[in-house]
């Protein structure tokens, strides 16, 4: 099996949110709580010694995705051929009948729920449909800084080094997130 994963160059991210909006537009998701890609600002220090970084968070498609086990309906699966974690929304029973167990299992808030009654889970699938036809995920193709790349995680780590942490991102062995980074130094 190939495990698909994501590389994020945190040193390049200006926090422009283009990836987030491109994703919203591509999947036609209303403004609001459902963000398959999220960008978070991490700030520290006091004037004038300051630090700020951004972290782009899609789903990290863990080698050991605890969301899969957490789902009582078996709605979340890890694809055998590429390791992409996907949700079958027909099987998801929604927030009325399940207290967002997948979200509680995920340290990075990848499972997303809309504000509507009975909202079913949605998540990043690395634009599996686009990958299938040889296109990069929409966030990767959108990034004006060329700070994102998606591919087999082994190849990405070979290309960019196997730095597994970034500012605002802690590598959790239990999950084995399929991500590598060029982290921003916070000193």
């Amino acid at each position: 099996m190939t495990q698909m994963g994501i590389y994020f160059d945190q040193t390049r991210c200006t926090g422009c949110y283009t990836c987030m909006v491109a994703c919203k537009d591509w999947y036609d998701i209303d403004a609001g709580p459902v963000n398959l890609m999220r960008v978070r600002c991490i700030e520290s220090g006091t004037f004038p010694e300051l630090f700020a970084a951004y972290l782009a968070s899609p789903c990290y498609h863990c080698a050991n995705p605890l969301c899969v086990q957490a789902c009582p309906e078996g709605a979340i699966t890890k694809r055998e051929d590429d390791g992409i974690v996907v949700v079958d929304r027909d099987k998801c029973v929604g927030v009325d009948q399940c207290p967002r167990k997948c979200l509680k299992a995920c340290p990075w808030d990848a499972p997303q729920f809309g504000p509507e009654a009975g909202a079913k889970m949605q998540k990043c699938d690395l634009c599996a449909d686009r990958l299938e036809v040889g296109q990069a995920p929409i966030c990767v193709e959108a990034c004006p800084m060329f700070a994102l790349e998606v591919g087999p995680i082994e190849a990405l780590r070979e290309k960019y080094g196997d730095n597994l942490t970034a500012v605002g991102f802690k590598y959790l062995k239990r999950f084995e997130p399929s991500a590598c980074f060029k982290p921003k130094s916070d000193c």
Binding site: C16, A22, P144
Partner: protein, 758 residues
């Protein structure tokens, strides 16, 4: 909302290459996926390098295009002007009303009573103000303004120093810089050519040292800079003079360059060393003014002078101050005395234009061998201005700027001119305003006075896409379509050598029309039968393109959605002048870089000295007014809209919390905590916004991103939070807009007011 997996069956989807070209420093490719006459999603540039990738603003365009707030049909005011009550009417009725008023005002008062306010909301060549301007010209002319808020200080300084606004390098040349100083420049949030940030990142990765000077710890400072130097707003010229002092007293200037390519260094030296006023402009002198430690200033001066080639890039924001051209001039002079001009990796700080058909000789011009003596009157196609003498304090002897010297009213004084007319010393009593692609009430300084002015006019017509604050003050509002609904060409703006062809992707929504279509229908009503309005959009675009030598083939550009012009090497301003001074001179009167500017000396105005100086002004931090209003206001650009365009786009609004930046120390002593409703006010007005309490702004400074929509409540409090409700409507002598010079006070909104406005 669809399922999260989009339909990848593209058989019934066509992809149309169009773009986004509002008034930011980018014009970006958007590939519209069109299904059953509707855009269902976008991609951006997926073509060959360099890709022109749209930012979040462009990617959010569907929510602007299909916004339920789009104006759908012509509207006529009912009730008081500005009250926002309108009735629907037909295009025929609306255009009849507009034509009747135009003819009436022309007959009774003359053409100069017609005020034309073209805006920059549309940067396409054809649509936006182009056609209405032509129409009004043929109708006998109009009164217009001079001065552009974004850059007037930088433009003036560039013209005075170099004689041209083409002072920039293409961004790929940043790779040749040993050091980059980003002075008041935040390209991470304000797009300055779409590729600028990428080149800054690459330069940084290449080992270039980057320093950011800004009152805020901006995203640019956080992402690119090795060092951030916070500086008190409006004092940049003092720090620049102090840097010059270090260079002069330590002999770190480039003697040969100064001798060969500049005039007036001695006069500047006299100012810096204090020979003319008894005050040496040392770092120690600058420290209490700028709040930058003297050591930091000295270190930066030494580093910049010693690491040639280096790029000092002075953003336009610090020049948007009450005496803004002094900063821009000071920065240009530092570039000159360090010999960083005309060389790869250096930079001639200024207007920053690197590539444009207008200045690169690619535009087929009128006969250059027949120069015009403007001192005896300026020939203009606008009959109202034709033959007008040059504006006082204008650099009319130079060519190469973008501002007419025949226009008389500075844009920031438009409201005053409307209210006071000839009695106030203005050239006309203005009776009507014709407003196109401009939310001027929001974006000119002093919005409350603007509202008063618009209310005083006989007639106001506005071409708009949304019910902006300006449109709300119209008698007739004409609904205009967007980029996606018509063909146009976006020409290069500042520095990027490319055109975008905006192919029409969908039919005009509702009853909207293009500005050109409106003029086509208005022309016969005004008794004009000009051929231009009979031409098709495409024929006009072909005509425009044929005048540009850098567009070899219109059809290819149209088909491919753009034209990327390959440059053999990076563009470096003034390379020829530096390489071959015998045969190539600077387009100044002296033919050299004017550290001491002869044209400015002629003006004999202490407020616009011939060498750059640090000067105060009536709303500076050290004036008596600061006792009442102790905080300095910045009105910077937001990253989630383009000026006032793209406001109210839900995808963008949800991206981050909006609010006035205030330092914890300033918040705490006012009992303000993060997220509170606060009032920011001065004698010109009061706005009510949320507080964003952050360490990322220096104490004593408040930042309100400009562009939020002006919305005064019954008490006159602007609950829309428009920054210009607080700004001063008085230009600098060089025409800079003092958008970053207002003094304000901040208080927690009173409880009973909070409930009303939250």
């Amino acid at each position: 909302m669809s399922e999260s997996s989009p339909e990848m069956d593209n058989s019934d989807t066509t992809i149309v290459s169009t773009g986004c070209c509002h008034d930011c420093g980018g014009r970006c490719i958007l590939k519209a996926h069109v299904k059953a006459g509707k855009i269902i999603r976008f991609e951006s540039d997926t073509g060959k390098a360099p890709q022109i990738r749209a930012c979040a603003r462009g990617r959010a365009y569907r929510q602007r295009l299909y916004s339920p707030q789009r104006l759908q049909h012509p509207l006529r005011r009912v009730g008081a002007r500005g009250a926002g009550k309108f009735e629907r009417l037909s295009w025929d009725e609306a255009l009849d009303v507009v034509a009747t008023h135009l003819k009436r005002i022309k007959t009774i008062y003359g053409n100069n009573a017609i005020l034309f306010l073209p805006g920059a909301g549309n940067q396409g060549m054809l649509h936006g103000p182009t056609a209405p301007g032509l129409l009004l010209t043929q109708f006998g002319g109009f009164t217009r303004y001079w001065g552009i808020p974004s850059y007037e200080g930088a433009l003036f300084a560039s013209m005075a120093t170099y004689g041209t606004i083409r002072t920039g390098h293409s961004r790929d040349d940043l790779m040749n810089s040993r050091m980059i100083i980003m002075w008041g420049w935040n390209p991470a949030n304000t797009i300055w050519d779409p590729e600028t940030n990428l080149w800054l990142a690459r330069a940084r990765e290449n080992g270039t040292r980057i320093v950011a000077i800004d009152p805020r710890y901006t995203d640019s400072a956080a992402t690119f800079a090795d060092q951030w130097i916070p500086i008190r707003p409006g004092t940049d010229a003092a720090m620049l003079a102090a840097m010059a002092h270090v260079m002069i007293s330590e002999s770190l200037f480039d003697r040969n360059f100064i001798a060969k390519y500049t005039v007036g260094f001695d006069a500047y030296k006299d100012y810096v060393l204090g020979r003319c006023d008894g005050t040496a402009k040392t770092p120690r002198w600058a420290e209490p003014i700028t709040r930058v430690p003297a050591q930091t200033i000295a270190d930066l001066a030494r580093a910049y002078a010693k690491s040639k080639p280096s790029a000092l890039i002075a953003g336009w924001g610090p020049a948007r101050t009450a005496i803004g051209e002094q900063y821009a001039r000071g920065a240009a002079v530092l570039c000159a005395i360090t010999g960083n001009i005309g060389i790869n990796g250096g930079y001639a700080s200024g207007f920053m234009r690197a590539y444009s058909s207008r200045e690169t000789g690619h535009l087929i011009k009128k006969d250059p061998s027949r120069p015009i003596d403007k001192s005896k009157g300026i020939p203009s196609s606008n009959p109202v201005e034709n033959g007008a003498l040059p504006r006082p304090n204008s650099l009319y002897k130079l060519s190469g700027g973008t501002n007419a010297t025949s226009a008389r009213i500075h844009q920031s004084k438009i409201w005053d001119a409307i209210l006071r007319g000839r009695a106030g010393g203005y050239p006309a009593d203005l009776k009507m305003a014709y407003i196109v692609a401009s939310n001027c009430l929001n974006q000119y300084p002093n919005s409350n006075r603007g509202a008063q002015a618009l209310k005083s006019l006989d007639f106001v017509v506005v071409h708009e896409q949304f019910m902006t604050a300006t449109a709300r003050h119209a008698d007739i509002v004409l609904p205009v379509n967007t980029f996606m609904e018509r063909n146009d060409i976006a020409p290069p703006w500042l520095g990027s050598p490319y055109y975008i062809y905006l192919n029409k992707a969908v039919d005009s929504l509702y009853e909207s029309k293009s500005d050109l279509e409106i003029c086509r229908e208005l022309a016969p009503r005004l008794g004009l039968s000009a051929d231009f309005f009979k031409m098709s959009d495409e024929d006009i675009l072909r005509m425009f393109a044929s005048r540009r030598k850098d567009i070899p083939d219109f059809d290819t550009m149209q088909r491919e959605g753009g034209l990327k012009i390959e440059m053999a090497e990076p563009i470096v301003a003034f390379k020829d002048q530096i390489r071959d001074p015998q045969n190539k001179s600077f387009p100044t009167l002296s033919g050299k870089i004017e550290i001491d500017c002869a044209l400015l000396a002629e003006m004999d105005n202490a407020r616009i000295p011939s060498v750059p100086k640090y000067l105060g002004h009536s709303e500076h931090y050290d004036t008596p007014l600061a006792q009442t209003y102790p905080l300095q206001l910045l009105t910077t650009h937001s990253k989630i809209r383009t000026h006032s365009t793209l406001e109210q786009v839900p995808w963008l609004q949800a991206l981050e919390r909006q609010g006035a930046w205030i330092h914890p120390s300033d918040a705490q002593c006012r009992g303000i905590t993060d997220g509170d409703r606060i009032d920011i006010f001065n004698d010109r007005g009061r706005i009510r916004v949320n507080a964003y309490v952050t360490e990322r702004i220096m104490p004593g400074v408040v930042n309100v991103c400009q562009g939020a929509w002006y919305a005064p409540d019954d008490d006159g409090v602007d609950i829309g939070g428009c920054a210009n409700t607080l700004t001063l409507d008085e230009p600098s002598p060089g025409g800079a807009f003092p958008m970053n010079s207002a003094l304000v006070q901040v208080e927690r909104t009173q409880q009973n007011q909070q409930e009303k406005s939250s």
